[in-house]
């Protein structure tokens, strides 16, 4: 890495970010009405890092993930993606909400995979994959289809291109969903419990695709209960509880030698 890459990037907001940080969360709060779900999250995801987020249900890990691509609007704090403040712009010391189209533009570089797949049921598998490139990025149809077929091949489903989602198994649907997110050529992939809705025997195929993606150098934030995956593929592991980051570090360290009581209690209940 050259000197200039190491240097800090001066953002328009005046905050200093290390140049290899793709996501920086600073004191992120989120409340739903009077219920405070996130109570001040500070995190950094470096380029190429695979970060696994674990924790009991209701700990706010999915909400945090959804804050990264602004599916949830922060109540307080800041979140930068690729040096850009997500969802807001700062003018004369005040935050202004971005318009719908501006937020949409920011989201283009962030892929997201959902627990319940959320494939578009009125489109075929290939139709799901090429929809956004054609509609949002104005990629010519033929080119998008060619690229879409490559992606379906990559997730092991080239023969399912013309099939509608309801005729696919959960595992196949999730792999199409991953291909759909990759079609936008994102810099960051968010996974929201991608295997939690799957039959146990289908989990492996999806994890294989994700492992492959991590090996290819994709930056990933993965909310998961798959401790084996976190240990093997993750570069870092974050344990969240009650809207806060309790503990984080290299997965092997956190999993083998948890420092915090709550981490110990959680891990003792999880089989892996």
């Amino acid at each position: 890495m050259s000197e200039s890459d190491e240097a800090v990037v001066e953002t328009t907001e005046g905050a200093e970010l290390p140049s290899d940080a793709l996501v920086v969360a600073e004191n992120v709060h989120k409340s739903f009405g009077r219920l405070e779900v996130l109570k001040g999250i500070d995190l950094e995801v470096r380029r190429g890092e695979v970060m696994c987020v674990v924790g009991p249900s209701g700990s706010g890990k999915s909400t945090f993930l959804r804050c990264i691509n602004h599916l949830e609007k922060l109540t307080a704090g800041r979140l930068w993606f690729d040096g850009e403040l997500m969802g807001f712009h700062q003018k004369r010391g005040r935050l202004h909400e971005l318009r719908d189209k501006e937020i949409a533009a920011q989201r283009r570089d962030i892929g997201m995979v959902f627990q319940r797949f959320n494939l578009f049921p009125h489109l075929t598998a290939l139709g799901n994959v090429v929809e956004a490139p054609i509609q949002v990025n104005r990629v010519p149809r033929a080119q998008a289809v060619e690229r879409g077929m490559q992606l379906l091949e990559r997730v092991g489903l080239p023969d399912k291109a013309d099939v509608h989602p309801e005729q696919l198994s959960g595992g196949q649907q999730q792999r199409v969903a991953i291909a759909r997110a990759l079609a936008m050529e994102p810099n960051l992939m968010l996974f929201d419990e991608p295997t939690s809705a799957l039959d146990p025997e289908l989990v492996g195929d999806v994890l294989d695709v994700m492992r492959d993606l991590a090996r290819g150098g994709m930056t990933m934030v993965v909310v998961t209960h798959e401790m084996g995956f976190a240990r093997e593929v993750g570069d870092s592991l974050v344990f969240m509880d009650d809207g806060m980051v309790v503990e984080s570090g290299p997965p092997a360290e956190v999993l083998n030698d948890p420092q915090h009581e709550r981490t110990q209690a959680f891990l003792s209940k999880v089989l892996f």
Binding site: N69, L71, D100, K101, A104, A105, Q106, R107, R108, I110, G111, M112, F114, R116, N118, L119, F120, P121, H122, E131, A132, Q135, V136, H164, E166, A177, R180, A181, M184, L190
Partner: protein
């Protein structure tokens, strides 16, 4: 197995009674002079009647097209979250669903009493122009209501505006039936609101929207008969009645009206069956579904 199946003697008895009644009805159709079938047959395809069928069809198609477009706008307003838009959409639906179509048809036929002309310009110009020291009026062009809202236009407007209220409810139900995860997935892909509505939400809402819209179309075809009271003199039912009154052969012409409406609604029902199958992905195969309707 050679077990004796259960017998249902009471069903057989009921079937016999129904058969006898049906036979009596058919016999009456052929023997009662008041039907005057030859007269009906001679007159139900006369030029003004056939032209009336055309008017009925065009009124159905146009009022449904306007109604659907209006319904989309109203449904989006209802779901917009802006209190003014929500209230206006609610009031619109409340009014047009609360007033009978027959009353609306007659009301619109008499709108010229309210406005002799409609002028398009800046609102409240008669108040603010003098305040700014300006003379004259800020009006660009005007429409003579008595010619513009001639019978057909008035009736069409009444039907279309009324239909908009019903379609708004149908489309709203359709949009709300689409899982929230669909919108989120589309947002995550970087699609903006308008594109999500056009490409993701509306196409999925269609599955829920199409069957009741088919019913609405069939109901609308029948409701075009209300145009006779606007009055729209070129319309089918008006023409059939006119022949009936002129010739004192009222009943045959009423039967002719029944047959015409039945024929057209039957064609529409077949169309509805195929459209429903087309928009229902699970039914896209060869599986058959009965044609349902609430009217």
């Amino acid at each position: 197995m050679s077990a004796v199946p259960v017998r249902y003697p009471e069903r057989w008895a009921a079937a016999c009674v129904v058969l006898v009644l049906a036979a009596m009805f058919v016999h009456m159709l052929f023997t009662n002079e008041a039907f005057n079938w030859p007269f009906m047959w001679d007159n139900m395809f006369s030029d003004p009647v056939v032209r009336g069928v055309g008017v009925t069809l065009s009124a159905t198609v146009l009022s449904m097209i306007i109604g659907i477009l209006l319904g989309i706008v109203l449904a989006v307003m209802r779901l917009s979250g802006n209190p003014v838009l929500v209230t206006v959409a609610w009031l619109y639906t409340w009014f047009f669903r609360g007033v009978p179509r027959l009353v609306l048809a007659v009301l619109f036929g008499n709108l010229a009493i309210l406005y002799a002309t409609i002028q398009i310009g800046l609102p409240f110009d008669n108040y603010w122009m003098p305040l700014l020291g300006l003379e004259g009026e800020a009006r660009f062009f005007e429409i003579d209501v008595r010619t513009a809202l001639s019978g057909y236009m008035a009736g069409l407007l009444a039907l279309a505006l009324s239909e908009g209220a019903y379609m708004a409810e149908i489309i709203r139900a359709g949009l709300q039936s689409v899982d929230k995860g669909q919108t989120e997935a589309a947002q995550a892909l970087g699609m903006n609101r308008g594109r999500i509505l056009r490409r993701i939400t509306l196409p999925q809402a269609m599955r829920v929207v199409i069957p009741p819209t088919g019913n609405e179309t069939i109901a609308m075809l029948k409701d075009t008969a209300l145009l006779a009271y606007v009055p729209v003199t070129i319309e089918l039912f008006y023409q059939l009645q006119a022949i009936g009154t002129k010739t004192y052969q009222i009943f045959p012409m009423l039967v002719a009206a029944c047959l015409w409406y039945l024929a057209i609604t039957s064609v529409l029902m077949v169309g509805q069956y195929f459209i429903e199958r087309r928009f229902n992905p699970e039914q896209r195969g060869a599986r058959i579904r009965t044609v349902g309707g609430r009217h």
